[in-house]
Symmetry: C2
Amino acid sequence: MSKPFVVGIDIGGTNTVFGIVDARGVVIASSSIKTAKHNNITDYIDELHTELTKLITENNAVDKIHGIGIGAPNANYFTGTIVDGVNLPWPTPIPLAQLVSEKFGIPVAITNDANAAAIGEMTYGAARGIRDFIMITLGTGVGSGIVINGNLVYGHDGFAGELGHVIMKRNNGRLCGCGRTGCLEAYCSATGVARTAREFLEIRNEPSLLRNIPVDEITSKDVYDAATAGDKLAKDVFDYTGDILGQALADFTTFSAPEAFILFGGLAKSGDLLMKPLRNSMEKNMLPIWKGKVKILLSELKEADAAVLGASALGWEAKTAEMTIVPPASASAVN
Amino acid sequence: MSKPFVVGIDIGGTNTVFGIVDARGVVIASSSIKTAKHNNITDYIDELHTELTKLITENNAVDKIHGIGIGAPNANYFTGTIVDGVNLPWPTPIPLAQLVSEKFGIPVAITNDANAAAIGEMTYGAARGIRDFIMITLGTGVGSGIVINGNLVYGHDGFAGELGHVIMKRNNGRLCGCGRTGCLEAYCSATGVARTAREFLEIRNEPSLLRNIPVDEITSKDVYDAATAGDKLAKDVFDYTGDILGQALADFTTFSAPEAFILFGGLAKSGDLLMKPLRNSMEKNMLPIWKGKVKILLSELKEADAAVLGASALGWEAKTAEMTIVPPASASAVN
């Protein structure tokens, strides 16, 4: 009998959100635990098991879970491990797929959060029916999930799709969390927008609503609010951000000629403030053969459910534990 | 009975080279005609048919040709047409696959020259057994063919893999043949190397062997010869070229995490003059997770046979004319 549900788990630095999802992408039930509560990964997985089992039992889903999909930072699909887990409290590498699959007795597949979002969008969202697209997640960082001919691109080692770390400024670029300078992420993430605002406030003399906020506390939300209220400097920050992102999307098009880019995350909800300069810049910088031919779409996943839905979509692909955690020969060189 | 041979045709601006190839990649026989001799595409195909039929007959290959593969500038795999055929004497679009397949009664597949090179390398050359690699052709221009999980990337419209047109200089970049400025191709092609030499000669005062050559006549071969003879300025030209190409390869890695880049074309034969600065720059600019993990290999296809071999490998994929020339729905928007 084929099992009608999957479980999606989204592991963030603060919260771990999980839910039971049916084949049509309806989140039947969801809950969460604190990610950082346990210093020991075993304790964390014990609590996850307790809470998730409760949810499964309450919803009459025992023995009806096809697979578990997990989206987590720096999670590798091939090896089932988290490497260099930036904001997570446990030592890396973490053999997460193996640990969860052993605990639950259910097949587990893991990937990074942006890839999970791309799979979710392809399965349930704006990318249904689109076989070539690039998901760009504009959050604290800039992530990406690349789909070519209907397949997510993992690369030879499982780490493909790090487009937030393409260099956009080769001279005097901003320091990025990766240790290099000039990365797309340093400009077009939520933190990048706040950095741009701080830079503009420092080098310009004009008045701005943002000058009412202590400069170190300015967030991208503050910039959005000020721009919506008509603040010129704040609007210029969005123009600057859209311009750089448009240059990047034009370059990315030369790689896989996607039918569409799909934007996801807080900044993607900035409306015309971001979309207008973004579309203008992408078209201006596009190689002639693609001018006017590549769409920019917004995610259609409901914000509250998106992370769980994205991860859960991967649950349909989850194989037996053995297949999930044994790395292919070409990936073994990574760790 | 399965047919033991394929035909490869490489259409260049000057010559059209064609050959009969067996399943092991041996060029049984080859010949060529002048591409630009005929102003009319029908006359050109007539001569190609006459000469190729002669070659097939002489080599007892009548009724033994599985398919014909053609590599040509701006050739689209999905539609079977050449669009904006830069150096070709005929009006575009040219429905090349249809014309050739009707004339010969043999299935035809076409793609651009860099994609053909990638398929050739995967079938017969340095990429045998490598499922994720990027072919970079360093010739008059810079071309690319991207292979992900064993499949060539065509994109939603058949034009993917134009990495020569990724922007490497966003300010004061050189004018590129595509009409934009700062493209990789404007720096790291053979013509780019000659341009760099001319720039260095103009802005520097030091002596150089290259000053013995009329400045407008300097070629990349001249720069290579001078560098090999120990000329400092000429060596600096290769350092500059390798540095930019290394930055580009580091960026490309974030996309598809290839196991290897494979270099092809005249410049790729510059030895350590190019490879040393290239490897240094790629490693220096690489995102930490890929440092020391991505190979740079040289093409293993014999120079004389490479273009024909690459195109011929596509011949094994050629389907009946109908399948080759009818564009999929998503590609119809292109023309």
